[in-house]
Assembly symmetry: C2
Homo-oligomer: 376 residues x 2
């Protein structure tokens, strides 16, 4: 490990700690208030905190690192230095927005789990799974599951509320606070569009063509996971609308590439490494870009019978995987990822007005390396 | 109708119009953004607006009338006049918070419907019922229902987000904005506690004793429907913490009385007048104060078999109703309502520090008259 990498890891760990502390403070306050409302809500809050604290904090770190890089860029540009220093928000305010983004992420994950009926995440029972665990008090079959799903909806609501509270309380000049609130509003609407389309695809309500699936991917994943932290970093640094638009486009390319890579891992990856049920996407009939390509190929009639079969056997799943590979779907999606990364590179090397500062480009390139190399 | 009542109705109609316009503006903006995301989200937003615009706006009107009464009180108190005039928020800001409270109410209703599996509200298909209507594109049984439930969760999230956005954007001095955000946070946590307990009672997870049911009633109904609008009115008028606490207590008494009255109407009311399924609470086994009293009586063994039977016949339901009446449960709950109203009256006539101004007391007494006389 090089000295730079060690320094980088220490800086990461510190930022991660700051975000975890902000989130912990939030839950500690909620639990103190909730202690008067009986044990159920207190337990729900503890399970919710456990859920949110287990994450990798990729989105908050992307915001914090990008903001730091933008600050550096300000400081090396003598003309803007005085003005920026005067207005630069405290580190605590940036951490607060970063924590808000993580709360939003956790809210989306939890409601996704409710909608998909999932009770496991990262190989462990999720909040719903914990709440649904059989107990002596269970009155009738299905009741514990209904109670657990209700807990999932309510906990998601508390996290969604927390995200808004963190954004609303940022001690920033009014125009920056409103810019952040506009961004939050836009992001939630866009993510909702993506989620609604995704469920509509799975439920057979929305027609699964490639352009719909790619638009859904950007809306559901890229918008809040990549565009939101990058744009928030620009706003917190009082950066220009041009820079914000440029970083939004960069985030969009990165986010779509990330999700397509995730689809490839789910369909073709080694389950022992990425820790998911290796065939869950195939059993659920998840409409990915891989499947959209396969559907247009002459191999589809052979694959259609196995795809979306909840009782798909090991042999059936392996046959389906081979079929998707042989018809060219895997290579096609690898090509789509490459297209996104090429467009991303072009944005980074473009020196026009509102160009991405070199220090920010470094942050994004490091992220690419992590996405490229990931097995999970 | 007296001249005062006509003036009152005109003033009501104008306030109602202001709130409806604020909400309409919000949905018009969302639909404009959503038009790029395909027809599903646009339809979801239209159904969501139809849902929210159909209400009686009781909560926004309570806020607006109380705030107007507090303004009047300020104006007749010469010593405080100048200071208040300087700081009084624009009418538009008060309307914005009122609209935020209605959005919160609509969010809670929608998520309640998802949790309870309800597809009808006010005798019409609700948003979930509209989305679940069979169509040509339905791929497999259950899919349309799943899609509709998903739409209910997502629409509730958009309304919850809208409530926060409206509070966060209030153009108020920072200390009042933070006071409103604290109030919103507290209210959501408390309502969540009430909803989680209510579902836990229905699912047989939480033990149905009277004190639990009464605490749940205050948390689930009184907190956001009465305490929130009254406290927000005080904060918007920059009123004292004492007055806020006093009006909170008044709202708590009113809210609990309102919900107990609702329970009585659901259990014993005339279905032709109040428009609900007359036996739904009895069929669902809803744990109300009525049932808690009956459970402690010697009549319970005879009633227990019918209570919570989803296939309860007309005769069975009528037998159960008579049993609840005969064991004294109806009279007991009427007594509980009277206790709340007596405590409420004592608060209103108390002339100590932080006392409720006469004009505000008039608003609350008019509300009581409406609650007392209501058949639905």
């Amino acid at each position: 490990m090089s000295t730079t990498t060690v320094q980088e890891s220490t800086a990461h760990a510190r930022l991660r700690f700051d975000v975890e502390q902000e989130l912990h403070g939030l839950f500690t306050r909620s639990r103190a208030t909730a202690s008067g409302y009986g044990p159920e809500l207190t337990r729900l809050l503890s399970l919710t905190e456990r859920q949110i604290q287990g994450g990798k904090l990729l989105r908050p770190l992307l915001l914090l690192e990008t903001h730091r890089a933008l600050q550096g860029a300000h400081e090396t540009a003598p003309s803007g230095l005085q003005a920026y220093r005067r207005r630069a928000p405290e580190h605590a305010e940036v951490v607060r927005i970063a924590a808000g983004i993580e709360a939003l992420h956790a809210a989306f994950l939890l409601h996704d789990d409710v909608i998909d009926g999932d009770v496991v995440r990262r190989g462990q029972p999720n909040l719903i799974g914990e709440l649904a665990a059989p107990s002596d008090t269970e009155a009738r079959p299905g009741a514990a599951r209904h109670w657990a799903q209700t807990g999932g909806i309510l906990a998601g609501n508390l996290l969604l509320s927390a995200a808004h509270q963190l954004f609303a309380r940022a001690a920033l000049p009014a125009h920056l606070r409103i810019r952040l609130l506009d961004l939050l509003e836009h992001t939630i609407l866009e993510t909702t569009a993506g989620e609604f389309t995704d469920v509509g695809l799975s439920d057979g309500i929305v027609t699964p063509d490639l352009s719909t699936v790619l638009a859904m991917t950007r809306q559901k994943t890229a918008s809040y996971s990549f565009e939101l932290p990058l744009r928030a970093a620009v706003i917190l640094a009082d950066g220009s609308a041009e820079l914000e638009a440029r970083l939004r486009a960069a985030g969009s390319h990165l986010g779509v590439a990330y999700q397509l890579q995730d689809d490839l891992l789910s369909a073709f990856g080694d389950a022992r490494t990425h820790g998911k049920d290796p065939y869950s996407d195939l059993r659920e009939g998840k409409q990915t870009a891989i499947v959209c390509f396969a559907r247009m190929s002459s191999a589809w009639p052979q694959l259609a019978a196995d795809f979306g079969d909840p009782h798909l056997s090991f042999e059936g799943a392996e046959r389906l995987r081979s079929g998707l590979r042989d018809c060219g779907a895997e290579a096609f999606v690898r090509g789509l990822i490459q297209d996104q990364l090429t467009a991303f590179d072009a944005l980074l090397s473009d020196g026009e007005a509102g160009a991405i500062p070199p220090a920010v480009a470094d942050v994004l390139r490091a992220l690419i390396a992590r996405i490229d190399g990931r097995q999970s």
